[in-house]
């Protein structure tokens, strides 16, 4: 369904995406995992055909550079933060995209209802909460029932409640056979939604793996995100790996898998190595084992 061959993108001298190739079958769900600047967003933009790149990409057999509009008709795109005109009313905004996607007004209304935004049509976009904006973006992405959905950190600006709602919707899409390609900083989302993970760094796909290979989900674990100084992250990752933890660096701290009830272990490990932990976040992934059953 999605094919990329030797995708390269440079901004000046910097390689944003470097020789990336992959194939994603219809119904597959792939997470892009990596630090800030790893090239996840740029790769999504290349695949959408909205920026120029070297190499080849096609969606549903359509070359995104030569047949961009037709290829994009097969894709629903959910950005990190919804970018609608702030003055636009929700109803007229979705109607504009419905016409672009050649679907009826009735279907637009159904899409809004499906994400729980019916009754808010008169509200202006600037008056919507972050969660409502993401739900609107999801409604727009799914207007024409496209077979492919691209999501660029769709929950990064949401609170726990909003995040859970979006993840639930994406789980349903996945079970409906949609092909998902999404960038995420959250291991819990990757575990719940992806069957493959592309680990990216400096524009390259370092490994094409599975969530279970990255995170030990066969026994109950929690993901703890540790916030350290940038300079100490690599040393801390080494120390934690030596102590037997699964560790992954990304743009928002160091994610460590720990057995339940042992959240303080990584902190103690780092303290022994005299590495200071500035902050800690326990990701709400308690349902991971159940979800995998």
């Amino acid at each position: 369904m999605i094919r990329a061959v030797n995708i390269n993108k440079r901004f000046g001298q910097a390689h944003a995406v470097s020789n990336v190739s992959f194939d994603i079958q219809a119904g597959g769900s792939v997470a892009l995992w990596g630090s800030n600047g790893a090239g996840k967003t740029t790769l999504l933009r290349c695949l959408l055909g909205v920026i120029r790149f070297r190499g080849m990409a096609d969606i549903g057999g359509l070359d995104v550079r030569r047949r961009g509009p037709h290829a994009r008709a097969l894709v629903g795109y959910v950005p990190q933060e919804l970018a609608f005109h702030d003055d636009a009313r929700l109803g007229s905004a979705i109607m504009f995209f419905a016409r672009l996607r050649r679907v009826s007004g009735a279907r637009a209304a159904e899409s809004l209802a499906a994400v729980g935004l019916n009754g808010h049509e008169r509200k202006r976009v600037r008056d919507l909460s972050g969660g409502m904006k993401q739900r609107l973006a999801l409604a727009v992405a799914l207007l024409s029932d496209p077979p492919v959905i691209f999501l660029d950190e769709p929950t990064s600006n949401l609170d726990a409640s909003g995040r859970g709602e979006v993840v639930e919707a994406l789980k349903r899409l996945r079970s409906d056979g949609k092909t998902l390609l999404f960038a995420s900083h959250r291991p819990d989302e990757v575990i719940l939604l992806a069957d493959r993970v592309f680990v990216m760094e400096q524009g390259k796909v370092l490994s094409d793996t599975t969530p279970s290979a990255l995170w030990p989900t066969e026994k109950p674990v929690q993901i703890v995100r540790l916030f350290l100084t940038k300079a100490s992250e690599a040393e801390a990752a080494d120390a934690l790996r030596k102590a037997g933890h699964a560790v992954h660096l990304n743009g928002r701290g160091l994610c460590v898998a720990v057995p339940r009830g042992h959240k303080a272990e990584p902190i103690a490990t780092l303290a022994r190595s005299q590495i200071e932990v500035r902050d800690i976040e326990v990701l709400d992934d308690l349902q991971i084992p159940e979800a995998k059953q």
Binding site: V75, D87, R107, V115, G116, L143, S144, E165, D176
Partner: protein
């Protein structure tokens, strides 16, 4: 949002389709037109142009000999100077913010991620703004024309309509230049700054530059005329003067040369100059926008 369900439960279509080329352009044009009508700049420019046009009409007709064609010519001459200042300013700034502001707000990426081409988006925005600008100018001309008809007894209606037509051509030409500036600018404020500089250059500097060049390089009249037609404002001015049945002799030897050499073809040459200023910057803007490596 506990009721949130995936819209894939909705009735399925076979294959999602992109809009036709014309359909995509029309959609963006309609949205741009609607947004422009609701915007403050449209209201401000329309009110300012209308008030000034009506004021010029009243003042021109208040003097001696304000009846009949003399009154119309005097008013048209007054409007000419107003139009040369206001219409390019309106069009250049509107065009300059068109793409750059979308880029700055982050909405451009989202629009380009839809099943449309860059050319469709740019042309749609251009046509929408063109329609809004034409409306704005027509409101001003309409009210001013009412005053004129009331005081002159409807003399010169055809010439007045031609004045409106040439003004719309000038505005569309300046809108093309504004859109070209916008395509090349990352920030809306930069685009607006360049647009204002361009306006100053076209309205004031080029006139003075042409005068200085003609003295300095001892240019021949045909060369001065050729250079003058390169400036859309000069083409517009000459076209309106010819349209008022006035002799281009008022513009000195260059005007006399143009009248004698081109005769009845002169309005067409000047209209062609304006048409070229519409088409060429817009075509260049489309090419640059389509070939642009980033959003």
């Amino acid at each position: 949002m506990s009721s949130m369900t995936a819209p894939s439960d909705l009735p399925k279509k076979s294959v999602p389709a992109a809009p036709t080329r014309v359909g995509g352009i029309t959609l963006f044009a309609r949205r741009e037109f609607r947004d422009a009508l609701a915007s403050k700049w449209f209201l401000l420019y329309t009110v300012a142009f209308t008030v000034l046009a009506v004021a010029v009409s009243f003042l021109s007709l208040s003097g001696v000999g304000s009846q009949g064609f003399a009154g119309f010519s005097r008013t048209a001459a007054g409007l000419l100077n107003l139009i040369m200042l206001v219409a390019p300013l309106m069009a250049l700034t509107a065009g300059a913010s068109s793409i750059a502001s979308e880029r700055e707000r982050g909405t451009l990426l989202y629009l380009l991620a839809q099943p449309v081409s860059r050319a469709q988006l740019l042309l749609g925005k251009y046509f929408g703004l063109a329609a809004a600008l034409t409306c704005s100018l027509c409101i001003g001309f309409g009210i001013s024309g009412g005053v004129l008809a009331w005081r002159t007894g409807g003399v010169g209606v055809g010439a007045y309509a031609t004045l409106v037509g040439f003004t719309v051509l000038l505005a569309l030409a300046m809108l093309s230049v504004g859109v070209l500036i916008s395509v090349g600018s990352r920030r809306s404020s930069v685009a607006t700054g360049i647009a204002l500089f361009t306006w100053l250059a076209l309205v004031f500097v080029s006139d003075l530059g042409l005068m200085a060049s003609s003295v300095l390089f001892k240019l021949r009249v045909q060369e001065i005329f050729g250079l003058a037609t390169l400036n859309p404002l000069q083409s517009f001015k000459m076209a309106v003067i010819v349209n008022m049945n006035a002799s281009l002799d008022v513009l000195g030897p260059v005007g006399a040369y143009a009248s004698q050499t081109l005769g009845n073809g002169l309005p067409w040459v000047l209209a062609s100059s304006l048409a070229a200023w519409i088409i060429l910057p817009l075509a260049l803007a489309v090419v640059l926008f389509v070939r642009r490596g980033s959003v």
